[in-house]
Amino acid sequence: MLHIIDDEEVVRDSLSWLAASRSIEARSYASGQQFLDSLDGTFDEQGDCVLLDVRMPDMNGIALFDQLVKRDLTARLPVIFLTGHGDVPMAVDSLKRGAFDFFEKPFNDNDLMDRVQQGLANSRQAGELAAVHARLATLSTREREVLDLILAGKMNKVVADKLGISMRTVEVHRAHIFDKMQVKTAVELAGLLK
């Protein structure tokens, strides 16, 4: 989902149209506050990206970005700044603080869209990573120990020997781990935690 935040309706409309022409789902907001209000902790599985105009009345782009940084949302919501003439130093500064990119007006529209798609991809990956981490967090201490040994390629027997528990117990842990990590095979698990 592409979030277009600009006070100019014509910009929002034209960028939405452009995004649509590239099959990117877009939603537009007339102000930063409107965007913040729409955040409910859920993210698009296809990834999110924010096109943010630096110059806006009330809350400008930088202030909104500061809010996102504070909420640690910049990974899930990659921000691409749209800057006018003279805003470059400010944009560079925000880039250092975690903005995804900035485009100086006038910009090449398809280049922008390419970057948007990369942003969406990043967001998607970040979302997946976050999910894996969330699953890992559900594992008990013993299950983490078992997981580490499994990822190291140890057989159940070796794991049991190492941890000083029975083969049976290892298998139970293993089943729990697979269950919690929503994988079916060890190979799948390894791919997830790569």
């Binding site: 014509v10 034209s14 149209w17 452009l18 590239r22 003439h85």
Partner: protein, 677 residues
């Protein structure tokens, strides 16, 4: 100022000696003057005395000689009587004859031995002889000595025809016949007659002659010319036996007087005059010395004053020849006073580019109306310029006649620097504010135009994307899917056009406020600003604005702006030119065919390279570090608003000529609508 050691100055140091010599000479002169007449008098006096002595001697001789002759006559007569040959009657005859011959004789008588009168010179033979005792004594002496004897003169009676109190002197001539006394002849002299008869008139006229006895008792005196003065006197004893008579002469002439008196008088008068004049001279000299001292003091004071002045002073005579400069002036222009004094224009410190300006002012000054105060610049020998402020005033002598011009010259480099600094500050301020305004305007314009352009770009890109996708998949493009985007793009293009139009309208709103104005009035109005610029770079401005030009029909403010811009460019173009070439000319002419007044701003600066010329009028193009690049662009816009044109070309003499034309007021209308700006 150095005073050459003059003779007078040397004398001043030896004042006593200076006075000693003339005083000594004067004293010598005076003493000689006094001595000479005295000496002359002395000589004359001696001469007179000698003359007197000689004359006296001569008189004495005369008297003596006469007496001797009478003595001889008596002796002869006596001898004849003694021989006894003569009768008494013939004796009387002879006696009478003797009396006739010698008028000094009063009487001659012949006495016998008894003292009886035998014969007498008188007519009557009187026995009354009345001899004085002295005479009787003389008679006795004569008888005894057998020689004639004179008696001391005395008064005697018995002479009725003689005046009473007449001194008479008897001469007794004893007569002897052998050794026998036979009588005496007695001749009686009237003493006064001696003098009257025997002293020549010319002597008597000059002298009082006296006969005196031993006791200086006067026996007789002849004073025909009055009494003597007792100055030249001489005494000479008359050698008469038996009597003691002295001839005393006393000149009536006093001391030689007239001439010496005149001389002495004139000498004294002259000396007094000399002394007075000397005193006057001395007083005059001392007054002059005092005045001179005061003058020198004054002079020194003035010189010190002039030397310590920081204001340059320059005096010129009516022909413009420099007659005086003070050290401050010399320092200012960098020439010594010897190089300047006595020079006629052109002066060495005149800057070549301002030569015409000086010459014009000089000609005006010669005509009698000098500019009382003006700013200009001078050139030092090393070529540097020094800006000066000059106050010129007529130089009037004590008779009220003008003899030249006096100028005080102030070096205003410092003031100029401050002015320049202020001006630059002001300019910077203006530039920055203008920059801010321009920046804001540009940024606003950019933002305003960015939005529709960005939108159009996005719409069209999106449309293209769709078309591409459709062609990739081999499906036809649905017109309906593209339509809204294209409509939007069109709308945004319209919007952009609207913005441009509104800016245009905004500019168009400042339509020129046209008036009928004289180009010279416009130039005069901003001349001060141009001069300010020009002086910064020592550029001279020459105006060629013919008075017969028609009026312009233009917005004065806009044309002033254009003039300011162009002159400023011209001046700045010459900032690296040789000082002599820094001349900017403002030339106006009338193009009757187009009814335009054409104004040329001509510099002799670096000119305009071809690559710059191409972009000269482009906005935001500037060759200046601090330039906005709007100047010429705005100028051209302003001129084109008026329906004129702004062009430029190379100056054949080097540099550039910018030319703009502005519509002129038609001749007939112009005169009635002339606005006096």
């Amino acid at each position: 100022m150095k005073n050459p050691p003059t003779f007078a100055r040397r004398l001043q140091f030896t004042s006593p000696v200076r006075w000693l010599l003339p005083v000594l000479l004067l004293l010598l002169f005076l003493s000689v003057l006094f001595w000479l007449p005295w000496q002359a008098r002395q000589m004359e006096s001696n001469e007179r005395q000698e003359q007197l002595i000689a004359d006296t001697l001569w008189v004495e001789q005369t008297i003596r000689f006469q007496l001797a002759r009478n003595e001889e006559s008596l002796f002869n007569l006596g001898a004849d009587i003694a021989k006894g040959m003569l009768p008494a009657s013939s004796v009387h005859e002879r006696l009478q004859q003797m009396l006739r011959n010698g008028r000094e004789l009063q009487r001659v008588i012949w006495l016998d031995t008894e003292g009886q009168v035998r014969a007498s010179s008188d007519h009557t033979l009187s026995q009354d002889t009345h001899f004085s005792p002295l005479s009787l004594t003389a008679g006795d002496n004569a008888r005894r000595l057998h020689r004639g004897q004179y008696a001391q003169p005395a008064q005697q009676s018995g002479f009725p025809d003689a005046p009473p109190g007449t001194m008479l002197m008897d001469y007794h001539q004893p007569l002897y016949n052998g050794q026998h006394y036979i009588g005496s002849l007695v001749a009686t002299y009237q003493v006064s007659s001696l003098l009257d008869e025997m002293v020549p008139w010319w002597f008597a006229q000059d002298n009082q002659i006296s006969l005196i006895d031993r006791d200086d008792k006067i026996l007789a005196r002849r004073a025909a010319a009055g009494p003597g003065h007792g100055v030249y006197t001489h005494k000479r004893a008359l050698d008469v036996p038996g009597a003691n008579i002295t001839l005393f002469t006393d000149s009536v002439k006093s001391q030689p007087k007239l001439l010496p008196n005149l001389l002495v008088g004139s000498v004294i008068a002259l000396s007094l005059g000399l002394l007075w004049s000397l005193l006057a001279l001395w007083r005059h000299i001392s007054r002059r010395l005092t005045a001179e001292g005061a003058l020198r003091q004054q002079m020194l004071f003035r010189t010190a004053m002039e030397n310590s002045l920081v204001t340059g002073m320059r005096a010129r005579d009516l022909e413009g020849r420099v007659t005086y400069v003070n050290p401050a002036f010399c320092q200012m222009v960098g020439y010594t006073s010897e190089e300047i004094l006595g020079r006629l224009p052109p002066m060495p410190y005149w800057a070549p580019e301002a030569m015409d300006e000086y010459q014009q002012r000089f000609v005006k000054a010669l005509a009698g109306n000098a500019t009382p105060q003006f700013e200009t610049h001078f050139q030092r020998p090393d070529g540097t310029r020094v800006p000066v402020l000059i106050f010129e005033a007529p130089l009037v002598d004590k008779n009220g006649k003008q003899t030249g011009w006096m100028g005080s010259v102030l070096d205003i480099s410092d003031r100029k620097r401050v002015e320049e600094l202020n001006r630059q500050q002001q300019e910077k301020l203006q530039t920055s504010s203008r920059l801010a305004t321009m920046g804001e305007l540009a940024s606003m314009l950019a933002h305003e135009l960015n939005q529709p352009l960005a939108a159009i770009s996005s719409y069209t890109t999106g449309a293209l994307n769709l078309i591409k996708r459709a062609s990739d998949s081999g499906q036809p493009v649905q017109p309906n899917t593209l339509k809204p985007a294209l409509e939007q793009a069109s709308a945004q293009a319209q919007r952009a056009g609207q913005i441009i139009r509104s800016v245009h309208d905004f500019v168009r709103k400042s339509e020129p406020q046209r008036q009928d104005v004289d180009i010279r009035t416009l130039v005069d109005g901003i001349r001060a600003l141009i001069d300010l610029q020009a002086r910064k770079f020592y550029v001279t401005i020459l105006e060629e604005l013919p008075p017969e030009l028609p009026l312009l029909h233009a917005d004065p403010v806009m044309i002033e702006q254009v003039l300011l811009n162009l002159t400023r460019n011209a001046i700045e173009a010459m900032q690296d030119a040789a000082p002599g070439r820094r001349i900017m000319r403002l030339r106006a002419s009338y193009d009757a065919r187009q009814e335009m007044v054409t104004v040329d701003v001509i510099d002799q600066g670096h000119g305009i390279p071809a690559d710059v010329a191409e972009r000269l009028f482009s906005p935001f193009f500037s060759t200046k570090a601090e330039g906005m690049g709007m100047g010429l662009n705005i100028c051209r816009t302003a001129i084109e608003f008026h329906g004129g044109a702004l062009t430029f070309g190379a100056n054949p003499a080097g540099g550039t000529i910018f030319t703009f034309s502005v519509p002129a007021v038609p001749r007939a209308a112009g005169n009635s609508q002339h606005l006096h700006a």
